[in-house]
Amino acid sequence: MEEQKKTKIMFVMRKPPHGSIYAYEGLEAILIMGAYEQEVSVVFIDDGVFALKKEQDTKPLGVKEFSKTFAALEDYDITNIYADRESLEIRGLTVDDLIIKPKLLEASEIAKIMEEQHTLLPF
């Protein structure tokens, strides 16, 4: 019964980090929504996959490093984390380059999951 009442909300992360604030303010929104006990999921497509790149060192740039916070999403009960396989491939990345291991999916599979959501939030 309780399960039925949860709202499916998906964050669609398409922007790379640091050049614009969308990845960061998107993450802030994910963390808040994670506390609301809804069914929150996150998918990384296009340049969004760069947000998960290992070895980000923002000290020389003087801005916040937040990639590690994505690794903490499980603590917020956000366990449905996906990435587009082809977006990684286009960028010369593999899942070993990422700080977490999202479930790799094809575009058609991602489209299907997007369709099942109540709400899609673009960042």
Binding site: R14, K15, P16, P17, H18, G19, S20, D46, D47, F50, K53, K54, E55, Q56, D57, T58, P60, L61, V63, E65, S67, E89, I90, R91, G92, L93
Partner: protein
């Protein structure tokens, strides 16, 4: 002329526009999200390797490091803002936003 690019080549076509107008030998400075162009093994790598035959290509190292890009296409110079300023002393600057 120094051409600067601050947008990801995977979402924007600014690099292509820049290359259509840049004269042989013109330096190109990648900064902000523009540095993603230097990612070795990517689908746009061939465009950058081709461009390197005509242009010295620089990338701001602080932007490269912030994004964790460790495999950089060979021939791209990683540099700092002193280098950006030094290039701007020698060249007019046009930014391809």
């Amino acid at each position: 002329m120094l051409h600067t690019i601050n947008k990801s080549p995977f979402l924007y076509r600014n690099l292509e526009s820049c290359l259509r107008f840049a004269k042989q030998g013109d330096p190109i400075m990648l900064y902000e999200d523009g540095i993603y162009a230097v990612t070795s093994g990517s689908k746009i790598q061939s465009i950058v390797i081709e461009a390197l035959k005509k242009h010295p290509i620089y990338a701001i190292e602080a932007d490269v490091k912030a994004r964790g890009i460790t495999k950089v296409i060979e021939g791209v110079y990683l540099c700092d803002y002193f280098c950006f300023v030094a290039l701007a002393e020698q060249h007019k600057v046009y930014p391809w936003f």
